[in-house]
Symmetry: C2
Subunit: 368 residues, 2 copies
């Protein structure tokens, strides 16, 4: 039997502790894993592109546990009433190869992306940062705001989206949370949102070489959290921002970021620093208050590994919340796999008492 | 909501039609897909190896549907009462990136491997083949026997395994099926089993360069169905068998087989033929009755794509048998993912009528 966390499961887990505490706890797990960067089997994700989107697999392992995530990116889905990004993943035991946990990762990816953004900003942004521009107010935006409010003490969020209804939704969701000291400023343009911000987070979805930020918008000392540019042909920053003499570009896993990140716009020898090197002290993050730090984030498999292990731990602590699915056979004689299809000869269905569990499901309205 | 086929589900599906008909139907699906070889995005599987085994991901797509399989290979698992190979997979819609079906593939991989072996033999073995040596009588062996009895008219099976209890189990399972004209001969060695066989199937599990078959065992006209050698350092045939002047070696996807197949023992320029070329007529399979044909099988993602699409179709035909899991969120406003964590603001759990389904589970005896 494989443990299962579906949408009802993640609602239960995050509902128990609240999104801010969940994100902070996850950020600590991600940091601990990046501190042992050398333990992980690393590869750029496997992507299959179509004209309308991409489907990716993101595997990794530290030799003890194995994990992978399935994730798609289909910007036009929202027009169909569907999510741009959906994801799920599995945590497995390297010793036996058996999957331990199958979990939804659509909600969890938003949580882990926000955790990773805030973790990177903790190391790269000016400690006195209080104002963040949040450009792109879609599915990921609340998670980013909660993470930066809780983990970095950001109090003022300057909101902008080409879709003003998305900004309405974000403002409504954030106001309902009653976060202490929260101020929301709705802006009429990206330039207005960036003006006076300490941190600029771009989390837009268009699959194109967009230019959300232009060089004249950027002031010394800013930290740019570039989240939306995360696959070939999908960028958000004007390349000259990356080329600034005072800019330092930090990536997660360089070989993958060369393909998917903002740096896909630049030659392969353009100097970047891996985040793990900043954590280990091998490289410095921000070396001066006036420097411009750029976290060219695309999302790396290690972060999903951390999320799956964290979810598994939280699930273990909540006995009543545990669900299981019969994804893997359970055999008395592992050489008698065929016995499963011949109940008379003793399949588990025949031998073992059948038990049934309830999965709480949300009613399906959109065909998916 | 994502369709789900677990162990109870595959038992129901195969139980409805019987394993022989299931395998024959699947072989037809696999053949149809190999006939449009050029439509598929192909890559060697992604493998992470450990001292005790391997965990692999096998993605592919034809531009309409996407599929991947998770599969492990841990030969020592049987000593722990666990399966050597477990697997599951997903079929997804390329247009939206949404997963359509999550299915167990442990049982299904045994069925699809048998279907692929019999399909290849239909094209490569002598049409008058009636006797098959079946070396390795573990989890896959019944499936091979059923496929070759049903699809090729094999009547006599010559069984050998280093573990005589495995042979007992295989003989017991096959006799219980009452297959017409079936004759089982238990042999004391691989050499005895191969003697006089038209087809030799090797499906052993040791992760080492084993030598199950040696050159002097092989007679002109034989077809070798080499199933067990399927990852680096895991082979079953003496290399001189592949080097026979009268031997023709057929593989599934050459770049993957160079890494994982029997041909890993040979230089990269050793001549092989891809099965798709045989189907298309671009290359001949067996060109003379006295030729030795060798299907150097490792299992390719296309075969799992076929299996998942076949399972999805069979599931669609059985309304009562359908199960769903809440792996992917269903949102009224796809930009309001956060709404899932704020029920008051209208998560599906709040808005939509919650429905519950039953998953029939087999009771867990071995911790997995």
């Amino acid at each position: 039997m494989v443990e299962y966390i579906g949408i009802a499961g993640i609602q239960r887990i995050v509902g128990r502790m609240g999104p801010a505490a969940f994100i902070e706890g996850l950020a600590a797990e991600i940091e601990a894993d990046y501190r042992r960067w050398g333990d992980f089997d690393k590869s750029a994700r496997h992507a299959i592109h179509s004209p309308v989107g991409v489907i990716e697999l993101m595997p990794t392992s530290d030799g003890q546990m194995y994990s992978f995530k399935y994730v798609n990116g289909h910007p036009k889905n929202t027009a169909l009433g569907l999510l741009t990004v959906t994801a799920f993943g599995v945590l497995a035991d390297v010793e036996t190869g058996y999957p331990l946990l199958l979990s939804e990762l659509t909600v969890s990816t938003a949580l882990r992306t926000a955790a990773m953004s805030a973790l990177a900003a903790k190391w790269l942004a000016r400690p006195d940062s209080r104002v963040m521009a949040l450009i792109g107010n879609g599915a990921q935006s609340e998670f980013q705001a909660i993470a930066f409010h809780h983990m970095l003490g950001i109090r003022e969020f300057r909101l902008y989206d080409v879709d003003s209804q998305a900004t309405d939704k974000l403002a409504r969701n954030l106001e309902a949370l009653g976060l202490p000291g929260l101020q929301l400023k709705r802006c009429r343009s990206a330039a207005e949102a960036v003006q006076g911000a300490d941190i600029v987070t771009t989390v837009t979805a268009d699959k194109r070489n967009a230019i959300i930020l232009t060089p004249e918008m950027i002031a010394p000392g800013m930290h740019l959290n570039a989240v939306g540019g995360d696959c070939p042909g999908k960028t958000e920053l004007h390349a000259d921002i990356l080329r600034r003499a005072d800019a330092r570009v930090i990536v997660e896993y360089e070989p993958q970021s060369r393909i998917e990140g903002e740096i896909q716009q630049l030659p392969a020898d353009f100097a970047v620093t891996e985040f793990a090197q900043v954590l280990s002290g091998a490289a410095s993050g921000r070396s001066a208050p006036a420097e411009v730090t750029i976290f060219d984030s695309v999302g790396f498999a290690l972060e999903d590994y951390s999320a799956l292990r964290y979810l598994h731990k939280l699930q273990q602590e909540d006995a009543q919340g545990q669900q299981h699915i019969d994804l893997i056979p359970d055999l008395d004689n592992p050489k008698n796999l065929f016995g499963l299809l011949a109940p008379a000869q003793g399949s588990p269905a025949g031998q073992n008492g059948a038990v049934s569990i309830q999965l709480e499901m949300t009613h399906d309205e959109h065909p998916a």
